[in-house]
Symmetry: C2
Subunit: 340 residues, 2 copies
């Protein structure tokens, strides 16, 4: 390995000068700088980032703790799009990303903060964590290193969060169904360890109450954010609440499951029952019928999340909270209620 010393020797200067020359400091003669650069080139020198960060305390690295990077996520590609956003913004700002191997199988022995401290990342972005994650509290309380949480509404001196506005999104979805004349609207929600589930439920209630429709808790089913869960929930709705003409699903995946059940039971969507999802995953535009849904911009979640983190790092902002808007995408799975 060729080091700064080798260059110094060959160029006949001190290591100090080599360092300063290569880093563009201005107290080095242009001619010596050229020479040093030439020698560095000849020896095909490349700086050792590890040594550099040991002294500078800077790694230009952002830690990523994305617990939902797994096979199952391929369908909704949720984590993926977030990652793309982070990757793009981090790339633009010249940060690299360190993906921690948060081993979910064997109980992790190291906390997130330990992980980040050890590796000297400058900050971290956490996504896919459950509200009851044992290490989450520690991250926030210790306030040890700057981080941005995705979809977890906690802030602190050094911790910010970003999310899409689930509540208004859910209200938007429910309103859409209401405007189509539906009055008996069920909801298939995700598991309640996710904050977004609470928010989406609240939005659903908001819309109902504002429209003067009674909110009936028994119409809300748990689909645990999975396709099978959605399918299962739909069976129960069909069985127990035949009066229901529309279902708001808190995720597209669950909506897909619900539609599968409806197909099996030979109930036509949207003619007999309207379905609206949440997320706008790519399948939504291809399935049959195409799914009406609330689009949330997952990419921006990552992109602006990365931006927020770096703003926090550079103490460039006091803002610790970003809420992204959503968009209603009307496709084929919802329809004006049949006038009976």
């Amino acid at each position: 390995m060729v080091t700064i010393k080798d260059i110094a020797k060959k160029a006949g200067v001190s290591v100090t000068t080599v360092s300063r020359a290569l880093n563009g400091h201005d107290d080095v003669n242009e001619e010596t700088r050229r020479k040093i650069k030439r020698v560095a080139e000849e020896l095909s020198y490349s700086p050792n980032a590890v040594a550099r960060s040991l002294v500078s305390k800077k790694t230009r690295t952002i830690g990523l703790i994305i617990s939902d990077i797994n096979r199952a996520g391929a369908k909704d590609a949720f984590a993926y799009e977030i990652l793309c956003g982070i990757n793009d913004r981090a790339g633009e700002l010249n940060y690299d990303l360190l993906l921690f191997s948060t081993n979910p199988s064997k109980q992790m022995e190291k906390s997130y903060s330990a992980l980040c401290k050890e590796r000297n990342v400058e900050g971290a972005i956490l996504s896919g964590l459950r509200l009851d994650d044992p290490y989450l509290q520690e991250v926030i309380e210790q306030n040890a290193f700057p981080c941005v949480l995705i979809d977890i509404p906690k802030t602190g001196e050094n911790v910010g969060y970003i999310a899409s506005d689930s509540r208004s999104g859910a209200a938007m979805a429910t309103n859409h169904l209401l405007q189509l004349g539906h009055r008996h609207i069920a909801m298939i929600n995700g598991h309640d360890r996710a904050h977004v589930s609470q928010e989406r439920l609240a939005g659903y209630r908001d819309a109902l109450e504002q429209a003067g429709v009674e909110y009936r808790p028994e119409l809300v089913y748990d689909g645990s954010f999975t396709e099978d869960g959605g399918a299962e929930a739909m069976y129960r709705i069909l069985l127990r609440h035949p009066e229901v003409t529309a279902v708001f699903c808190a995720s597209d995946l669950m909506a897909l499951g619900a539609m599968r059940t409806l197909e099996r039971m030979e109930r036509k969507v949207p003619d007999e029952i309207s379905i609206i999802g949440f997320d706008d995953i790519s399948i939504a535009a291809y399935c049959s019928p195409k799914l009406t849904t609330i689009r949330q911009d997952k990419y921006q979640l990552g992109y602006q999340g990365a931006q927020l983190l770096i703003d926090i790092l550079d103490k460039r902002t006091d803002n610790r909270k970003i809420l992204l808007g959503n968009q209603l995408i009307v496709r084929e799975s919802t329809r004006q209620i049949a006038s009976t």
Copy 2:
């Protein structure tokens, strides 16, 4: 920051002993070890991985250069599944992943090998690179650091590759169509800067020739691996080769595009034209008609790729090449040719 020195001082021993105690060396009294561990705990010490790797030359980090991590990839989630596989295996073996910000927009000034050398990663996995990538050659020739290429058939002392067997997969697809009685089979291929395109074309030819069907180059169109490209190619096929009754698409995304065109032109799939794809992306099981395709195990590409890299690192194998099998998934987009 609390260091090993602080522990040494508080425990009344030397830094050497602390280091050896914490790292489980056996030349330290069990009692002192306990004491040191206790002190470390009290001070909530966490080791500095940067300093450690400066001296040990080990980072337990794998570099990732995945040039196709971008928004567009959300539909096929190809890069994502590979990443999941890598992430899982790396996690199991206790490696972290460093995602390099290969900024495709501004021309990268640093080569991959420079990137990896600087950051002292132990090895790297490269995916999504084009055959004509300017830096690819350098990686292989310099042989500077161990790496695994995905879908690029080059090997070397320290470089291995992993891919799914595109050629046999394409033959499998074409055979499926032949067995259904099709004789006029067009192909929509990807751009030819990808090695897989060449392979899939070869497989297509293999199958045709083996079945005694003439290979006609004019039936092969370039869909450049995009949905729009597939749609465009399909238009041309319809226009110029009305005799075609089946199309083999070298990717599901292009198949989706082709099906879009067919729907617009009111040609029924599979009644009038059979379509088979390649990849088995998640949409394939949901679109209408559901897409018959060749499934390749992208997750294993990553998982076994990571394994291969680590085997190379540990000099545990001389194998430098892994070829994964594919699987024909028959759904709804192919059918026995209508007997005329």
